[in-house]
């Protein structure tokens, strides 16, 4: 794994590096605000945050092109933001409002933004992997391989590598040579279970070997390392229709979801978290190398705070969905005769009862 401080920044466009920092800071601010809104009961259900995973989120997103497709897990707010979704519409979805990305139908775990080719966050662990494989199948059905061909990136958590859908999907992707990149976002815990307590092969990227799929483990706390590894994998997917299994190592700063106090963590873990937090590390790295001065950094931080405050205001102002829309969006072609009763309504068999 690459030492974050060892990444060579001199070959990078400073404006691009500052943009990465801005995106990471935006995700950090957004997620802290989401946690606050959850405790204020503005957000219901489950709410999983990308805190501590900002370098991974931004690195992976930077590797994607506009024409690529992304399938995410239920820990996906940051990916929606990094793909270009409006923060107000993301927050409105968390609030369950009409202006939410999914019109208040999905909530935190199910952010869809087809304009930005985000084909969903998924609440059932691993449920997205066959779908992403199918999206790659559709791309291969329509497009020949080539340097400009679109590809699919599929995110999954470390614990997901133990389920059948993961293995069935990797087998199909390799067998049929599909333009897919599977990324294990290894934050080292599946809820409260450490990777080595759940996986007989804890070096998760090696699981691709069964499918003769190239793979790599990289430092998920280093945005450039993540980006470059993902880019290489996406290039393979485009040019050769060769899928890849990439593993990024990071650590989530908080519990599994907002309500999890993470008591399974040791004091040692917490200390390591603070030390390896990717956001201050990247900031320091940029300041040290002269890409960012303190004033610019503070300006960026103030800007993202303002953007998040605006997102909260937007979400707050957005109306809750009217109950008359309850049956909207269940079917693309709602057939005649579909029962649309509310609880307690009579079943209508036509004519007088």
């Amino acid at each position: 794994m690459t030492d974050p401080a060892g990444t060579d920044l001199t070959r990078e466009d400073p404006a691009v590096l500052r943009e990465y920092y801005r995106q990471m800071a935006l995700i950090r601010a957004f997620e802290l605000r989401a946690a606050e809104m959850y405790t204020r009961a503005k957000i219901g259900g489950y709410c999983h945050l990308n805190l501590g995973e900002e370098a991974t989120v931004v690195g992976l997103s930077a590797a994607l092109r506009g024409e690529d497709y992304l399938f995410a897990t239920y820990r996906e707010h940051g990916y929606a933001l990094a793909r270009g979704a409006d923060p107000g519409r993301v927050m409105a979805e968390l609030f369950g409002r009409t202006d939410g990305l999914s019109r208040g139908r999905g909530g935190s775990m199910h952010l869809f933004d087809t304009d930005n080719r985000l084909l969903g966050g998924y609440g059932i662990v691993g449920g997205q992997i066959p779908l992403a494989t199918g999206a790659a199948f559709a791309l291969a059905y329509k497009n020949a391989p080539g340097p400009d061909a679109p590809a699919v990136m599929c995110l999954l958590g470390d614990a997901t590598t133990n389920i059948g859908a993961f293995h069935e999907s990797l087998n199909l992707a390799a067998l049929w040579r599909l333009p897919a990149v599977y990324v294990i976002v290894n934050n080292q815990l599946g809820m409260g279970t450490p990777v080595d307590a759940a996986s007989a092969e804890p070096e998760l990227w090696k699981r691709g070997c069964s499918y003769r799929m190239p793979g790599q483990r990289v430092d998920g706390n280093d945005v450039l390392t993540v980006r470059d590894a993902a880019r290489a994998a996406l290039d393979r997917a485009r040019a050769e229709h060769q899928p890849t299994l990439l593993e990024t190592i990071s650590y989530r700063l908080r519990g599994h979801s907002v309500v999890d106090p993470a008591r399974y963590r040791t004091a040692e873990d917490t200390e390591r978290l603070r030390r390896e937090d990717p956001l201050p590390a990247f900031r320091a790295q940029l300041v040290d190398s002269g890409v960012l001065d303190d004033k610019t950094a503070v300006d960026i931080e103030a800007d993202v705070d303002k953007a998040v405050a605006a997102a909260v205001d937007f979400a707050d102002a957005s109306p809750a969905p009217d109950v008359t829309t309850l049956f909207d969006h269940v079917y693309t072609n709602p057939p005649p005769g579909m029962y649309r009763g509310l609880p307690g309504d009579p079943v209508n068999g036509g004519g007088p009862a």
């Binding site: 066959p130 494989t133 199918g134 559709a138 199909l172 693309t332 029962y339 036509g350 004519g351």
Partner: protein, 325 residues
Amino acid sequence: MTVISYRQALHDTLRAELRRDENVLLIGEEIGVFEGSYKITAGLLAEFGPRRVRDTPICEEGFTGVAIGAAMMGLRPVVEIMTINFSLLAIDQIVNNAAKLRSLSGGQVSVPLVIRTPGGGGQQLSATHSQNLEVFYAHVPGLKVVAPATPADAKGLLAAAIRDDDPVLVLENLALYNTKGEVPDGEHVAETGRAAVLKPGWDVTIVGYSRAAVIALDVARRLEGDGISAEVVDLRSLRPLDRDTVCASVRKTSRAVIVEDGWLSYGTGAEIAATIQESAFDYLDAPVRRVAAAEVPLPYAKPLELAALPDAGAITRVVREVVPR
């Protein structure tokens, strides 16, 4: 009209739809080189090639999910699940993804997917290979479930399913593949969600779908000779369910017997009976009766299997109990 088998009607429809629309493709186990476990896809690999007719490894969850993902991207995959029993391996993908994606995305995503799969017992395949699990899927908003009983509907309902922008499960039946009937020539697309009166009558309504509708029709014809005039309603679709046609018939006949190959408790008959008592209570002259499978894992031994499944004898007996002499 041409008389062909239910199997031939399915095959011809798949072929016609593959020719009509480049986005239609077939996915499933042994559908290509082996030509399908029940030979519905015979010859299609040779005609359309492996891009359009895709043999898969044994991985129902995987390939069903792949088809859903491909459908999200605008393809129109027709999945063959070898029998409905194996759909249990894919049920998470069907129930949690295919049925939900339109709603979860707030209308951004459509899933124009077809799952073809045969149900049915009576082939001495014993407990795990003889189940009628369609009510699992008919229970779920976001899905459509159709069940053709005749070759004409095999064509019309399958064509409608393939052209539908929502996920449709097309329930076939092992016992019907060799049955024959008149099928409209040329393009024939049925309307999803409409029941059909297969035979008019005045004394009792017999409701069924798939194989049960075929047996019900046979029973009704034979009862004519005994002076009992039975009306037969073929549901054709379990979701949506055409309650109007069922209740209109019962308002006329005042009696109802519901036949299904599935287990009795929580089954289609329960849903229909509840609908009738709520929408046609004042018209009823007798309790609504159900003829359904015995509630056991279906045994292998022929006499036990025969005893467990609804047949013409059981339907005849119950109709005679309901209709006064």
